[in-house]
């Protein structure tokens, strides 16, 4: 109980919000809008899982939104050429992994601070894309949207992919040596190094993995609309960092669980539709999200201070 205190309290907050909605805005639970909401958040969940691992290893990657846009456009172009969808999924993942490897090389290889590195790559990818594509949308072929299925089936497929991946990743961080290395490096890189773990290599692969997940998520977003917006993914980094932090991932590294991130993301994702249903003006959304994040961080800060005493 004490171990998962943070995750459980977020889950409790989510339940409270959902109960409130059930009482005051039962329309929120209409199947079709709810399904659309979840499908929209499915790619975000995947990026948030990657971000959680990056933060657990005591790094940050704010270039995910730009990576997302680059992968979306590239994948869209390939799909428009008529490449088979599974191949496009793979290609998008590889694009992402390559961009992640570049970040990883700069952070782990050259030992530069990740906030600066990814700030630079964030701007670079985004502007390069704008220059190359001049903001042009990519029109997709007919069979691409919803993976060639009906909308409902496609949405279900995306949600299940995201949930499946969440389960696999959550198990992997617990059951793979690699997962434990990430936590060890994030808590105490020097102690990990003395124990024969290679912190730099671990960090590098965390960034590669982050990129790969972004690539996959980008493709999952592409198949939700008939054309690819080259501005997609803007603000994504804030959203996933927020989900991770609210979900109990410690910004100081070494602590956090993926299912907590899942709950944190759901909580943040509920706010916007909830406001609509409650007839509150939409610009309260950011303020409420900000308050939740602030609460989460303050709770962490108080907790660490208490521990250090």
């Amino acid at each position: 109980m004490k171990k998962n205190f943070r995750e459980i309290s977020i889950a409790a907050a989510l339940v409270v919000v959902l109960l409130g909605l059930a009482i005051f805005a039962p329309a929120f639970f209409q199947p079709q809008p709810l399904l659309s909401l979840l499908a929209r958040e499915a790619p975000t969940l995947i990026v948030a899982c990657g971000m959680a691992l990056v933060i657990v290893s005591r790094q940050i990657d704010i270039s995910v939104g730009s990576q997302f846009a680059v992968c979306s456009v590239c994948a869209g172009l390939l799909a428009a050429q008529g490449w088979p969808l599974p191949v496009v999924f793979l290609a998008s993942t590889i694009f992402g992994a390559t961009m992640g490897a570049f970040n990883g090389w700069l952070v782990a290889g050259l030992r530069l601070p990740s906030i600066v590195v990814t700030l630079a790559t964030m701007v670079t990818w985004r502007e390069a894309l704008r220059w190359l594509r001049q903001g042009e949308f990519v029109n997709l072929r007919d069979g691409t949207q919803w993976l060639g299925l009906s909308q409902v089936a496609g949405q279900w497929a995306l949600i299940l992919i995201a949930l499946g991946l969440l389960v696999v990743l959550a198990l992997a961080t617990k059951h793979l040596s690699a997962g434990r290395f990430v936590y060890a490096v994030g808590t105490d890189a020097e102690a990990a190094r003395l124990a024969g773990i290679r912190p730099q290599l671990t960090t590098f692969f965390v960034f590669v993995f982050m990129g790969a997940l972004v690539g996959l998520a980008a493709m999952m977003n592409v198949v939700q609309s008939p054309q690819v917006d080259p501005k997609s993914g803007s603000g994504l980094e804030l959203k996933v960092i927020a989900a991770a932090v609210v979900g109990g991932v410690a910004v100081s590294g070494g602590r956090g669980k993926l299912w907590g991130v899942f709950v944190g993301l759901l909580l943040l994702a509920c706010i916007s539709p909830a406001l609509t249903h409650l007839h509150i003006q939409a610009y309260w959304e950011k303020a409420i999200q900000g308050t939740i994040i602030l609460l989460a961080v303050v709770a962490d800060g108080l907790r660490t201070r208490k521990q250090n005493r």
Binding site: K174, H175, L176, S177, A178, R180, F181, Y183, A184, T187, D188, E190, A191, A192, R193, L194, A195, G196, I197, R198, G254, R255
Partner: protein, 498 residues
């Protein structure tokens, strides 16, 4: 001008000062002497206001002072010059001096001309040829110390504490510093001088106080002292702890070092052998290069000279991962920082170094992990509620056992222990000693770094004494404290150094 009587200070259960009396008069250099952990640093921190004493009295200039804070000490004219100068490397000398001496109101306008002029004056007063505009980064260590002294002078310090100021200086640089110290004395400043170099104390000090185990043993004029007596005063203590005896003769040579050196960490020309079943104690003062040697052997700062042989085979060790693969284990000194990860369960801590071995299929096998952890918890007598207990919930001695278990799990041939019982209570200490002896008996070669002199004497089959980055003496098991201390201080007796 400074008088401490019966000052006591405890940290938790550790009594760092058990009643120290110390007086400093104007215009004298008063040396403070004692082995590692005798309480010198704590005493300085009490004088500079960094620590509040638990008992006893402090009088400064004849007035009793209670609640001495660093700011108050500063106002009373107490300045401390540490071994590593605490200057801002990116600022100029004048800016550094200005930061210390000028008022700190945030919106005060800086008078640059005046600042430069004052810096130049102060530097001139101590005869330092340093430009006030030089960046501190570009200065040598002794030059930086001179800047510190200039700050102390500028603050009108009447009491200057120097903590091993010559530790990183060459002889010539030290001579310059001595001239400055003598000058301070002539001007009526009282200097508390701490050094491990006895010859300096004889050259410089008027009086000397010997600390041992947190007590002031004796204060006397340097003129009436000789080195042998001083050393005796420093170590003269009875061994109150029973150490497990060595049994049987040591086996084959496991580790053999030939003229090993590493420029980066200042270790040079180390030649040493450690045999299976043998505990070799590595004694020496802080900064003698013992931990640095261990870090070379573990591939953290790889050697750039000489050779390392394991079981007669020459090896290169350039990373901890390689060292582990070669059968070397290193239980580091600061277990809180580099050993046990406090947030992780002890089972995870114990298996951290053996992932490739117990989890060959990359999937963690929690059953196997739990069994390993439970076995070690039983074998080493770790007091914890189970393998799931987080490392942070254990006492110091038990954390040390967890750290030890992590390395024993790698099934090493050579075990390097760095201060294995630092900050551990007496009971756990004796248990750890028994474990170490048992491991040696089982055929492990043990290299044990320790600043705890009785521990080195009681545990070691042979004692290697380091000084200035190299081994200066090899002493047999039944050496006495006096011999070890003499070698560590560089007062070699029977032609021990090579």
């Amino acid at each position: 001008m400074l008088q401490l009587s019966a000052v006591t200070k405890s940290f938790g259960a550790v009594r760092a000062l058990k009643g120290v009396s110390f007086t400093l008069e104007a215009g004298e250099v008063h040396a403070l002497l004692g082995e590692n952990g005798a309480g010198k640093s704590t005493l300085i921190k009490v004088i500079t206001g960094a620590h509040q004493p638990d008992g006893g009295t402090i009088e400064i200039n004849g007035e009793r002072v209670t609640q001495l804070s660093p700011a108050a000490a500063h106002k009373l004219g107490i300045a401390c010059i540490y071994q590593q100068p605490a200057l801002f490397p990116d600022l100029t000398v004048a800016e550094n001096i200005g930061l210390r001496l000028e008022p700190t109101a945030p919106l005060r306008k800086v008078n640059w001309a005046k600042r430069q002029q004052r810096a130049a004056e102060l530097l001139q007063r101590i005869g330092a040829e340093i430009s006030p505009e030089a960046e501190v980064r570009s200065l040598s260590m002794p030059e930086q110390q001179l800047v510190e002294i200039a700050c102390a002078l500028g603050a009108g310090a009447r009491i200057v504490i120097m903590d091993e100021p010559t530790a990183s200086l060459t002889r010539k640089e030290a001579e310059l510093l001595f001239a400055v110290v003598r000058d301070l004395r002539k001007n009526g400043v009282g200097v508390v001088y701490i050094s491990h170099r006895l010859e300096e104390i004889f050259a410089l000090a008027d009086r000397v106080t010997v600390l041992r185990d947190g007590e002031s043993i004796q204060t006397c004029s340097v003129g009436n002292m000789d080195e042998a007596t001083l050393i005796k005063l420093m170590v003269g203590r009875e061994v109150s702890h029973i150490y497990p005896p060595a049994e049987g003769a040591p086996g084959d040579v496991v580790l053999s070092l030939q003229n090993l050196g590493c420029t980066a960490s200042g270790v040079k020309d180390v030649t040493l052998e450690v045999r299976a079943g043998e505990i070799v104690g590595l004694a020496g003062l802080v900064g003698a290069g013992r931990t640095e040697l261990a870090r070379i052997l573990f591939g953290i700062t790889p050697a750039d000279a000489g050779e390392i042989k394991l079981h007669g085979q020459r090896v290169t060790i350039s990373s901890p991962a390689q060292a582990v693969a070669q059968g070397i284990a290193y239980v580091p000194e600061d277990r809180r920082r580099h050993g046990v990860i406090l947030e992780m369960p002890i089972a995870h801590n114990m298996t951290m170094a053996i992932h490739n071995r117990i989890f060959p299929g990359t999937w963690l096998r929690f059953g196997a992990e739990k069994k390993i952890a439970s076995d070690f918890i039983r074998d080493l007598g770790v007091k914890a509620y189970g393998p799931e207990a987080p490392g942070g919930s254990l006492s110091g001695g038990n954390q040390q056992k967890v750290s030890l278990a992590r390395w024993l799990a790698t099934n090493p041939k050579l075990l390097i222990l760095d201060e294995p019982t630092q900050g551990v209570d007496v009971g756990a200490k004796s248990e750890i000693h028994k474990i170490i002896r048992r491991l040696a008996k089982e055929g492990l070669a043990v290299l044990m770094i320790s600043s705890d002199l009785p521990e080195v004497l009681g545990m070691s089959d042979r004692i290697a004494v380091m000084r200035g980055g190299t081994i200066t003496a090899m002493l047999p098991a039944k050496s006495d404290a006096h011999q070890v201390m003499a070698a560590a201080l560089g007062q070699a007796e029977k032609g021990a150094p090579k």
